[in-house]
């Protein structure tokens, strides 16, 4: 791993991996703390509409979590591959 561009790439990928770990923790916290529970006080169509919207929102955050996890894992794989080039 003597190529200067590889050294720079490793540094960039390491930074990316660290930041993705932080971002993932932030996403998990948002999913846990900032998504309302299903409505307990509403009834009928308003309750269904509210709960459906909350459900959609939660699923969208799950999509973001999956993408962040995948990005972090793939960054890790890339990092290992670059490091192995010697």
């Amino acid at each position: 791993m003597g190529r200067p561009e590889d050294l720079a790439l490793v540094a960039a990928l390491e930074t990316q991996q660290r930041q993705l770990a932080l971002l993932l923790a932030r996403l998990h916290r948002a999913r846990r703390e900032l998504v309302p529970d299903p409505a307990s006080q509403w009834r009928g169509p308003a309750r269904r509409a509210h709960d459906a919207a909350v459900d959609t929102l939660a699923k969208t955050i799950d999509v973001a979590v999956t993408a962040a996890q995948s990005a972090r894992e793939r960054t890790g794989v890339a990092l290992a591959q670059v490091r192995s080039r010697a």
Partner: protein, 480 residues
Amino acid sequence: MPDDLIISGGGSTAVATDELYANAQMLARLARESAAMRSQVAAIDAAVGPGSWHGSLAGAPASAALAERDLDDLAQALDRVHLQAQLLQYSLVTVAEGYGLAERLADALVTGIASSAGSLVGRLLPGLLVSTAGGAIVLGTAAALVIGGRNLGELVGRDRGVSRGSSFARNNNGIVTNAATVSLIRAAATAVGGGALGALGLPPGLASAAPGALPFAARTIMAAGSRLGLLDETSVRLHSSHGVQAVAPPSGYAERLARVPGHSWSGGAQVVIERYSSASGPDRFEVYVSGTADFSPAAGPEPWDMTSNLANTAGPGSGSYDSVVEAMRLAGVEKDSPVQFTGYSQGGGTVARLAASGEFNTQGVLAFGGPTGQVPIPASVPAVLVEHMDDPVPALGGMQANHHALVVERDVFGGRDIPNQYAVPSHHREYYVQTAELMDEARSDQVRDGIEQLDRFTDGATLRSSRAYRFERVSETSTP
């Protein structure tokens, strides 16, 4: 539902439950957080992506390019989270605004109709107005009288229930403990105000729109009662005072209500005043004022009576009001001393009057179950007014006109069985304690900010003394 808190006022036109507000505020935070995370993704992408300093991912493994694609997906998902959170938050706020608009329209309609009708009656039949106004202003309690209470004291019970009403009143308390009945009482109180001015000849439109119509009606009723030897105001004097055990400033709504004296367990004391010293200013005072102790319309030795209730509606200068002013003087309150008031029932109405007088450096008002609707608390004074929707007592104060105040309502027995140990259970102190505890657990910024502001009053201050005061009326035949 019994445990729902309905939040309104606080300078907003919206009306909604604590849960709805808490969810809307949570979604607003999620929208901000997703936008911040989106910026973080853009920064990550810029550091390694095709536009970064090293030009491209040439030379990087395929997995690095796949990670780039994941970052794009992540960015898009966060954009959607931001949009969905904002849309849902706007929907909830719109619902709250819609409730608020509907409520204001209904209030305006009821107020207009009731006041105009009262004004017309007063204009055409002033004698009828005078003879019935007393009954109208206490319509809620009068309704309970109809169902069997022998006097008003039997209806609401006293403090922890020394008197709890006749069995007939208790078994039929659903008539009074009802949000619809309470709305009617509010309208009736408003109508009495218009009616009194109508009796003077003001046209219905003017009479119903006139500010101070309810106080004028109360004065009219007191004048009429005076001819019968009832509702006669007197001067007051200190009966006794004693020290109260307290070690720290109050924290939370429930703790504040717990410091309001109760006649049956405070040795008859009606006022408790805590004095605090702080390094950065003059001494400050927390003043707690109790509820009605004597429900007879004839003034006896107790200043916390029906005469004071009506006099508080009429304006400053009731037996209870004068007693608190004297207690404050004895406690060392000066014109510029910062003061914060907490009251329950009549105490709620009294503290609102004290704040409205402008004679004190009032820093905050907290009233539980007080008839405060038509008492003009200055907009500069932070106020939290707690009213049960099925409690007729706050309704006797007329429509709530203190729109800057945070108004917290609760339908205590909505949808559940009404216990029959009290004739008017929803006014009973233990249910306001429950509501205060729910407020302490509330998640909405409004309710949390309300108590933070009240608690801030004694931040960094040291409790110097806490004293309870008992006052009595001085009748013409009393010895000095």
